[in-house]
Amino acid sequence: MTVPSVAERSATDTDSPPVLAVRGLWKVFGPKAQSVVGSTLTRKELKEQTGCVAAVRDVSFDVRRGEVFVVMGLSGSGKSTLVRCLTRLIEPTAGEVLLDGEDVRKADDRRLRELRRHRMAMVFQHFGLLPHRCVLDNVAFGLEIRGVSKQQRYARAREVVGLVGLNGFENSYPDQLSGGMQQRVGLARALAADPEVLLFDEPFSALDPLIRREMQNEVIRLHHEVGKTMIFITHDLSEALKLGDRILIMRDGELVQVGTPDQVVGAPADDYVRDFVSDIPRSHVLTLRWIMRPPQPGEALDGPALGPDVVIRDAVHAVLSADRPVRVMDGESLLGVVTSAEILEVIAGGQHQ
């Protein structure tokens, strides 16, 4: 199965305003949560002094329309809390969540329900399906509660059930399906309302590795087909690199770094992130832009040309088999050159830098 690489998939619109903008978001669990906002104590000190847990502290980021935005971090770093704050499944303590410029935190109950019914939908780690309803009724549930007629909602539900590849299972019940299939139902349920933003909270971590890979490819395929903005929580770095257009890394509730996969791997913000990415083969993530160097005087500049966003792994063959330095070209202009020396350095030393 070939999967489009990151570079090929960046269909996101960088110039238009973000779909979702989060500003100074805090979530503190515990008594007198409000007074903890703004504190600079560490989590442990906070816990000891106030009894509060700052699950999310002062997090700000933008999500662009159509991108897959991955949030990752170790267990307990506040990812689930963060993503639940976006639709106020958990009420944030402070900050702003702007969905197309509208502050979600200011919405009243009715407006919030509207937002949840039409604009954002979520996929859960343990699926959260209704065991007493068949697949079709599970998928149609979101439409049912907003009063769509039976005929219409079943038509739409059939459509999305087909989209996630569950044709023929419409009348099965959740406990008759495998984990992977149940999560497809969860996916279909989220898609049924045709929301602008899809939220995923570690949707595949309850699945075994093979099914997980299959489901990841499914998400990529769906992203291609329906082009939704996706916010995807995971603690699995390879999943993050595989799916993410951009990755946000959290530690103890704080934002540590936001960037594209190659930025995170190539220029980790601190030792925490460096440690995190140390096991990843850099050649699989970094592009030629990260290893090219200016041509030296006297070097032959008539070798083969490649783009700067080609992943190193895909350029290995071309570079090693060329007898002259490979030129990295952005259109007509020469950015730099790459030789087998640079390639070998990344591959040989890549894992331990």
């Binding site: 329900r113 939908a121 959260g128 065991p131 007493h132 549930f141 979101g142 049912e144």
Partner: protein, 666 residues
């Protein structure tokens, strides 16, 4: 942290000292008894009254007199009474009593059997439908058709009302933490209060008859409905709810589409429990003149007519089994239907329902129109044979087992009961009280000692000290026996799967059987004595104690047992050094539950010769001038229950704290 350490080490250090102190207290008590025997024992004869009893009686008379003048009665209580009376009478008119100017009820036996079987078939399955038909027919065969229908009418009315109140409250308690916190202690109290105790006060408000019986039954049957419904609502998966919220459901939609359907099966289990509780209480309510099988049993018990009591008891058991099986099948059906998906078409189900209802309509019409279908044929009445057989069997058993039963009776009476009772009743009351408070302090806590002091003073003030001590002696002996059985059989069940499979259904049956029924065979065996009451209480309370102990033993981690075995422990060491100590909290829970069950049988004991508080309560039902004393005796039972429960709890907590300290080597 350090404070805990200090306290724990202090407890650990003082533990042996406490043991010696306990021995000293008991030794002093016995010495005091020997010296002061018979002094200040606060004796009171069966028909003697204290001024308090007289004024209680007068107070009750005053309430009686104000029934038609006091606005509280006129605008509130009397309406409820009227409504309940009417409701029960209406159901009786349908199935048990001559009504609407006819010599027979609306539905005769054929119609009732048809309806019951149809309900069992439509909500349960074919098997329980057959069981239902056979069970209902057997009521007629035992010659108890009308009595059975009266009991059924009372039970069904009480169940319908209990569910109408209990399920909404249960849903509320499931949704609101605050309401849950408020309602839980109330339910605890309703369930631990011995049932007989509130019968008399109820009749004060609702008069003797169906209304009081319904209220009493509801008090007993609502708690499981509320509790289990709340549990069902609460256990709905958090993530499923969150997922629904993320789709934008309103709270009403979440209740209707998510919580209720997912809790449905549990709620039906609650319905089952409610029905069983209601049936059990509906028979006991015979004490306040509730119509039905309970009355037959009660009369027979009072005249020591074992055959008749057995016959009616059998009908009660059959009714309990039928109701239990049908509701259990209904709850399983919910699950099965979900799993089977929509294999059967809606049309097929509709046809089936229509067919069944059609059949029922025909049977109902027949039983409405023809006498043979309305009145159960006398030729089929085999009740007298059953009675005679039971009488004969009881006589035979009494004759042939008399050596063993007498030996057992004498052993326990002389070896355990009499010494206890003598010590409690012959010592001066202040000596007993002082010893009890000291013991509460030593095994429990300061608070338990305070509760004990207050409780014992109330007993003295109520003028029922002696009777309370007699009852206390029986209660303690019965509880000891329950715990002996509980530990031995519980450990056996906990360790052996085979024992578990064999015994569990027996215990379940024991728990679903209405309390009255126990008395019959035991009465047959041991005759009307204190001892009979004790054995009845033990039989009633042992199943729960056994189950709890077995549960505790099973929960001991397999790894720990394996480790001990690999260290070379033999079975006895394994039980005494590993399994029982680790199941200690289950054992203490079993003891406190067993105690509460025993206490709730105390009044029943009064019916079969146990005397003391139970007798006072029962006499209060039947003799007008003893009403006040009966009420006081009811209060005394509650006070005893509270004191024993508190001391037990405090002792448990202390033991837990000590074990905790010991575990970490402090």
């Amino acid at each position: 942290m350090t404070a805990v350490n200090v306290v724990a080490s202090r407890v650990a250090a003082r533990l042996p000292a406490r043991k010696y102190l306990l021995v000293v207290v008991i030794a002093l008590w016995v010495a005091g008894w020997a010296l002061l025997r018979g002094r200040d024992t606060l004796q009171l004869g069966g028909a003697e009254l204290t001024p308090l009893h007289v004024s209680l009686s007068e107070g009750m008379d005053a309430v009686d007199d104000s029934r038609n003048s006091n606005p509280f009665f006129l605008y509130f209580i009397n309406y409820i009474r009227l409504f309940l009376d009417e409701a029960v009478t209406f159901v009786q008119a349908l199935i048990s009593q001559p009504s609407f100017g006819r010599p027979v009820p609306v539905l005769g036996w054929l119609g009732v059997v048809g309806v019951a079987t149809a309900v069992a078939f439509l909500y349960g399955n074919r098997k329980v439908a057959l069981l239902t038909a056979a069970g209902f027919l057997s009521f007629g065969v035992l010659g108890l058709w009308q009595e059975s229908m009266d009991t059924l009418a009372l039970t069904l009315t009480a169940v319908a009302l209990s569910l109408a109140v209990g399920i909404p409250l249960g849903v509320w308690a499931g949704l609101s933490d605050r309401f849950h916190r408020v309602v839980t202690p109330v339910l605890d109290f309703m369930q631990t209060m011995p049932t007989f105790v509130y019968l008399a006060p109820l009749t004060l408000f609702f008069l003797i008859g169906p209304a009081s019986a319904t209220v009493a039954t509801m008090i007993y049957a609502i708690p499981p409905a509320i509790r289990i419904t709340a549990h069902g609502i609460r256990q709905v998966s958090h993530e499923t709810l969150e997922a629904s919220t993320s789709l934008g459901v309103t709270s009403a939609q979440a209740l209707r589409h998510v919580r209720l359907p997912m809790a449905k099966q549990t709620i039906i289990v609650g319905v089952n429990q409610t029905i069983m509780a209601a049936l059990s209480m509906a028979t006991i309510a015979a004490l306040i003149d509730a119509p039905g099988l309970g009355k037959t049993v009660l009369k027979a018990l009072q005249t020591l007519d074992v055959g008749t009591a057995f016959n009616a008891g059998l009908a009660i058991v059959i009714m309990a089994v039928v109701l239990d099986r049908v509701t259990s099948a209904a709850s399983r059906r919910v699950e099965a239907e979900r799993r089977a998906g929509r294999q059967r078409t809606v049309l097929g189900r509709r046809l089936e329902v229509a067919g069944v209802l059609g059949g029922v309509a025909v049977l109902g019409y027949l039983s409405y129109t023809y006498v043979w279908a309305a009145e159960f044929p006398i030729e089929a009445n085999l009740g007298s044979y059953v009675r005679r057989a039971a009488d004969a069997a009881s006589l035979w058993v009494q004759d042939s087992l008399v050596t063993y039963t007498d030996a057992l009776k004498n052993l326990l009476t002389n070896g355990l009961l009499n010494p206890f009772e003598t010590l409690l009743t012959d010592s001066p009351w202040w000596l007993v009280a002082a010893a009890a408070v000291a013991i509460a302090l030593l095994v429990g806590s300061v608070r338990a000692a305070l509760v004990t002091t207050a409780g014992l003073l109330v007993l003295v003030l109520l003028g029922l000290w002696q009777d309370s001590m007699v009852t206390l002696a029986s209660t303690l002996v019965a509880t000891i026996l329950v715990m002996v059985l509980g530990v031995i059989i519980g450990v056996w069940m906990g360790r052996s799967d085979r024992a578990d499979t064999v015994l569990r259904p027996l215990l379940d049956a024991g728990q679903t059987m209405p309390a009255f029924v126990y008395l019959v065979p035991i009465l047959g065996l041991f005759g009307p004595t204190r001892f009979t009451a004790i054995i009845a209480a033990v039989v009633f309370a042992a199943p729960i104690a056994i189950k709890l102990v077995a549960e505790g033993i099973r929960r001991v981690s397999a790894t720990t047992v394996e480790a001990a075995t690999s260290a070379g422990a033999n079975s006895w060491q394994l039980i005494s050094k590993v399994q029982l100590p680790m199941a200690r909290s289950a054992v203490t829970l079993a003891a406190s539950q067993g105690l509460i069950y025993v206490l709730s049988m105390v009044v029943v004991g009064g019916l079969v010769g146990a005397g003391a508080l139970g007798y006072d309560v029962v006499a209060g039902f039947s003799q007008h001038q003893l009403r006040g004393k009966g009420l006081a005796a009811g209060l005394a039972i509650v006070v005893l229950g509270i004191v024993l429960d508190r001391v037990m709890r405090a002792a448990t907590e202390r033991a837990d704290a000590a074990a905790h300290g010991g575990l970490h080597g402090r």
